[in-house]
């Protein structure tokens, strides 16, 4: 009988009924946004690491002799940061063009440059222009492609999308804070008489604030669990629908175990934000009492 958690009859407070729904919506949207940010981040990291670790040296067909390829291979092998050098066989190079030009065209006398795959040590970013200049002194017309020219724009786009996702996430959190402030203020007005009574009995501000904090936690927990469950269902369905798509540059639409774990941050953050916001709102209001 005396073990009740709150002295305030929150169950009679109409305004609190909407908070779980609002939190559920926020967590749902926030969860999807966070998942999108994680997918984009994973994809951009994957692109970035691919770019960072590889380069391709192209030798015009006219200059592509065994001797020139051996010269360039020898030079590359002693270049700082290079961990592997592999001349690409002509058949393999031609095979790369088949999806774009068709077998009939590629297997004619189409001039195909000789290629040398270069692997770089982790974290090493070699200046393609200066390396190309250096190699051209050995074999004229040699070019070096670090793929950054065309994938760099994609990476920038991905990073921007990632930042945008987190900005939207922050805006969702701000909206949740406003909703909790409104609900808490409403609760303070509804329960003003009891709060005044508790205050007169010598209740510390934190005693009263902890009751609002507990109430906010319970409401946010309900909403958070519902919102997170709904977001999880959508992500699972999305991954299932996208499972058959095999496009080289399309990001994987699935989340890793680590990503799923990270997603739990969203409902947990919603609960923490609701508790902290309710507490601070109440403490600020009570500070005006004598």
């Amino acid at each position: 009988m005396l073990g009740r958690r709150t002295d305030l009859p929150f169950e009679r407070d109409q305004s609190t009924r909407f908070l779980p729904w609002i939190v559920a919506l926020m967590v749902f949207l926030g969860g999807l946004m966070f998942a999108a940010a994680l997918i984009v981040a994973d994809t951009v990291d994957s692109w970035d690491s691919t770019l960072t670790g590889r380069m391709t040296v192209q030798i015009p067909q006219a200059a592509a002799t065994e001797a020139s390829i051996a010269t360039l291979t020898g030079k590359l092998e002693v270049t700082p940061g290079v961990t592997g050098v592999r001349p690409v066989p002509e058949a393999e190079a031609r095979a790369l063009l088949i999806p774009w030009l068709g077998e009939a065209v590629v297997n004619t006398d189409l001039p195909v440059p000789a290629l040398i795959d270069v692997e770089l040590a982790a974290g090493v970013r070699t200046d393609a222009a200066s390396l190309a200049a250096s190699l051209s002194q050995l074999v004229p017309g040699v070019t070096v492609d670090n793929h950054r020219a065309w994938l760099g724009a994609l990476i920038n786009l991905g990073r921007t999308a990632e930042i945008l996702a987190f900005v939207i996430l922050a805006m969702i959190a701000a909206a949740a804070v406003l909703a909790v402030i409104f609900t808490t203020r409403s609760g303070l007005a509804v329960h003003a008489a009891i709060i005044e009574l508790l205050h007169q009995m010598g209740a510390q501000d934190r005693y009263i604030a902890s009751q609002f904090q507990f109430q906010a936690m319970m409401l946010a927990l309900r909403g958070g669990i519902a919102g997170a469950a709904a977001a999880a269902v959508v992500l699972i369905v999305f991954a299932w629908v996208g499972r058959g798509i095999d496009a080289a540059f399309l990001p994987p639409l699935t989340l890793s175990l680590g990503d799923w774990t990270a997603l739990l941050i969203v409902p947990a953050a919603a609960v923490a934000i609701a508790m902290l916001t309710a507490r601070l709102t109440v403490l600020r209001a009570l500070a005006r009492m004598p």
Partner: protein
């Protein structure tokens, strides 16, 4: 225990509802507070239980100058004051036991220590059969007794009661007055605001008389506290 020095009180920019109030209540004293409606009794009580701060003058309570006491230290002072409100201010969704236990909960007393004490006190005020009743199911007199039990459960050093016998039969009123006197004998300083001149005459304690915001003192038959 409690000292007012030239206290004045006004609400907003209105006229002063209390003017130059000066008195001292010694520890263990018993006073009636009386006056016509609108004379300022409730405002004076609010100043005593720290629900208001005076617009001028000094209030000393339990050796603390309230005007310079940090706000964070006021709850500890309030816990040493019991208040019986004219409108009871019982919490509707709590039972009689829970209402009476509230000051103990606020004070951080553990549940196990609360229950027995609260039940005994409610039985003493004649509500042993209504322990789990909610205020809305209690009569006015029963609610008043719950309110009184709540005010005294913490063994306050100062008990302030605003018309505590206003809604009860005469024999209950006398019984409640005896409860207050028992508390007084145990060392609690008591101030009872009342219009009931019969009680004032019967118990003979000194009277703080408020008229149009000014305080005068009538000594009673019983030994009075120091009144300036």
């Amino acid at each position: 225990m409690l000292r007012f020095e030239n206290v004045g009180m006004r609400y907003g920019i209105g006229p002063e509802v209390l003017r130059d109030i000066s008195f001292t209540l010694a520890p263990g004293s018993f006073h009636f507070l009386t006056g016509s409606s609108g004379a300022g009794k409730t405002t004076l009580l609010k100043l005593m239980y720290l629900a208001l701060r005076p617009t001028r003058g000094l209030v000393h309570l339990f050796d603390n100058d309230i005007s310079v006491t940090p706000r964070s230290e006021l709850p500890a002072l309030r816990r040493r004051i019991g208040v019986v409100f004219q409108d009871f201010r019982l919490i509707d969704h709590l039972t009689a036991v829970e209402n009476v236990a509230l000051p103990l909960r606020v004070n951080g007393v553990r549940h196990g220590e609360i229950d027995t004490h609260v039940r005994e006190l409610l039985s003493w005020v004649g509500l042993g059969e209504r322990l789990d009743a909610r205020p809305s199911t209690l009569s006015g007199g029963q609610q008043q007794r719950v309110a009184i039990a709540r005010a005294v459960i913490n063994r306050p050093r100062l008990l302030l009661a605003d018309e505590p016998t206003g809604n009860v039969d005469d024999h209950i009123a006398v019984r409640l007055m005896h409860l207050f006197e028992e508390l007084n004998k145990a060392g609690t300083t008591i101030v009872i605001a009342t219009h009931n001149n019969v009680l004032i005459e019967e118990f003979g304690h000194p009277v703080l008389q408020l008229d149009d915001g000014e305080l005068t003192v009538r000594r009673g038959r019983q030994p009075a506290a120091e009144v300036v």
